[in-house]
Amino acid sequence: MIDHILSVLIFFPAVAAVFGFIIHKDSMRAYGVAVSVIEFALALWLWFAFDSNVSGMQFMELIPVVPSFGINYILGVDGISLFIIILAAFFTLIGIASLTDTKNVKNMIITLLFLQMTMVGVFAALDAIIFYVFWELSLVPMLYIIGAWGGPLRIYASVKFFLYTFAGSLVMLVGMLFMAYFYYQATGVWSFAILDWYRLILPESFQLWLFAAFFIGFAIKVPMFPFHTWLPYAHGQAPTIGSVILAAILLKMGTYAFIRFSLPLFPDASVFYMYPIAILAIIMIIYTAMVAYAQEDVKQVVAYSSVSHMGVIILGTFALNVEGISGSIFLMIAHGVVSGALFLLVGVIYDRRHTKMMDQFGGLAHVMPRYATIFGIMLMASVGMPLTINFVGEFLSLLGFYQQSHTLTLLAGVAIIVGAIYMLAAYKKMFFGEITKDENRNLKDVNKRELLALIPLSIITIWLGVYPKPVLGPINNSVESIVQLMHDKATSVEAKIRIPNVIEGIVITRTPAGEAH
């Protein structure tokens, strides 16, 4: 079974979801928890069986789907995707376990299990078309979650979310088809396998166009600065569980895809676009931080701060060196844990007061001390306090980019201080001072079910902040091989300089570039 662990991880939740239709609705929650516990255990088993000394793909599977057109079902996992898969399993588990009273809970859990299939599929797929299948399919459950359980503007928000991402992905699909065509021209066979594409060296002019096509698809998903407008709506209208999954996992698809596709496929273009993207990322960090400061709705604060931190991830990715990329992958996990936890925390107070407006609160620390403590820990993690999980990722990302540009890194560093300001201001408004509203006097502190989700998240936040090595080690290993691949593939002089040579003397097999036209 360990040979097919990835397929099992992908399709177990889907099969369980199909069986979910026959489960009685009163038992549905228990069923959902059971399924996601098994799934999480399988994910941990994957980690246990994973050899952290190997930098390449492990547990690979290959089934031909459309061999005459080069589409194969190829799966594999390396240090980059391993932890995001575990994170996806983990968040589905705590999402279902902490699900508060929802109407149609049965449909919700079935939808979540389908969503889990698509999430694991995206991070395990090593064939562009299979990747694309899961990438697109993930839109449907999310559309339903926002559209059926969301706030008053839910239909607008869900349709905007769907169409925005769908349009971007179609441009990316054209890019993928081009890539496959270039591979066909160079080798005479169709292939959509990413590992095959890695061996193809394209002329820089092609790289620039293809990078742009992929960029549109990924940037909308992240979402990067000019394309981010769908996200506040989606977060604002989505139910708690939807926001948690969206922030923790779905957004990571975009940043993950940058590392899996854009960087190794188009090293020269990555260097070419490094500064424009870095500037976009810094605008995104500063601008959304300022917008977050102006919000009155605590969920929007968390949503904009989540976008702001995604900017740091992008910045780290486009540092194009081992520190930066490892840092950005670590920050993806950190951001997943922290912003997921923050959305859960917002959900806790929303369940009690049915409002998310900060001026309705104040002095909550008196009535809900445990809630205030956990919120405080997560807030500190979010602003990047040392010894919390976010610090490691942010520090490494900025350290990586510092080697490319000092000024831009300084700007980004300043932006993180802005982040501290708005988060602390929000915390002050909600938790400190006297209780001004009578409704807040008798609020109940977090209950057991909520603690079940929040305590493990707090533990992870501090544990990985103090000792990140178990996660950072495998990540680093795989990133080194990617950076080396980029260095070897780079054709322009500037790219050779910008992308460091990690290991001396390793030669990769390559397909000659000149013919690829």
């Binding site: 459309v66 057109f69 299948v133 399919l137 449907v140 349709v159 065509y181």
Partner: protein
Amino acid sequence: MLAPVNVSLESLNLMTLAPMLIPIVGALLILVIDLFKSNLDKTLYVGVSLLFLFMDFFALYDASTIFAQDGTMLGVFNVMLIDGLALLSQFIIVIASMLFIPLALTHKRFHEFSYPEFFALFLFMIGGFQFMVASDNLILIFVGLETASLALYTMIAMHNRDKSFEAAVKYFTMGALAAGFFSFGAMVFYALTGSIEINQIAAVLAGNGYADIGYVLVGVVFMLASFGFKLSIVPFHTWAPDVYEGSSAAMAGYMSIVPKIAAFVVAMRLFEFLIHSGVIWLEVVLYAFVVITMTAANLWALVQTDVKRMLAYSSISHAGFVMAAILIGTTQANSALFLYWILFSFTNLGSFSMLWISRQKHLPDGQSSDHSYDKFAGMIKTSPMAAVVMALFMLSLAGLPPFALFWGKLYMISSAVTGGYTVLALIMALNSAIAGYYYLKLIVYMFMKEPVVGVNGEVYVSNATNALKTIIGIAAVGTVFAIIAVNPLLEFITAFVYNSGY
């Protein structure tokens, strides 16, 4: 005194006629049955039609094995041309017809199915379409086209509603115009080349190096207009939404598939040699037609308030999308056309059948059309299974992976990329995104809105019988599990298209 014509029977290769003659014999048999005993139940006629379609299918299967061995066959004074295109399109025609005809077994009684003539006309129509695709003789194509079209007009009118008479007359008028254009075009080509066989025309034109390019263009314009009407290419599409609305949903679904594939095949035979011999003007015009048809039809579909009209515009848009294959003209593009159309026929027949089973005989008060979006509001609560199936078809039409139409779109866009039409590939991709909106709109209504007061789930399946549910089940299975079938289909299609020289 005429000299006796001496032709050996073998040289006629009469077996090439077998697939077309089978439905015609079936139609005659139905008429004969009716002569001896009238007022028989429609189930008998459905059964007989299905039997003949199965026979037709096996005749086709036979012909395709012969084609796989010996290549293209000619027959009957070289009028019949059985090549890969003819066989593939006949497969589509026959299979789509087999899926269509059981839709007559509705729960409610509808006027047209009580006449045996309906089924006779149906089989005549199939024979007509089969003749149309299995020839490169412009006269035989014309005869096939008119046989089929006249039968189709009558079948639409037999639905016996005010709107269906309007639809039939509209379709008939436009069809007559198209037929006129076709014969004019054929006349011009005959005048230029002294032949009515497409391959002869191509040879003569290539021989004199397109000396009379002006006249060629006149011929092309007439032909384009004619096929524009048949394929509902914008700006010749105006009849389509009204005709779809006026005919029964099942008939509309059928019309969006079978007549079009027949027209596509003829267009492929005629236009591809013209494009590739450097008639730049035609390439530009076709390019414009493809882009405008895709985009404009999508934009119209966005503003429809009736699901059936939305699906009508979406069918126009899909036709424009597929028309791109004729413009690109590579083997990959032509294979993509057939792949797309096979996958499309499952999905589109399925979605029109979903409308068909929710057909109300009499409109409730205050409702102007039978399939307004409002009717489907909150369907997930009252009739969850039907809502899920309908959503599947919509997602497939939108091109969401891994459902059927995604693979067609993928291969079609890939053929545009490979053929060097980069901008076209992008336009096709973006049009799929626009189309996403109106398919999504129905899903939003079904899954996210509250049900209309006073509607219970029965209205969505009021017309359903086991036969209809089976057809929808087949369509749904074909839509969901298309991924398994894509590879064998693709290999089969590519081999057939390649061996026919396209």
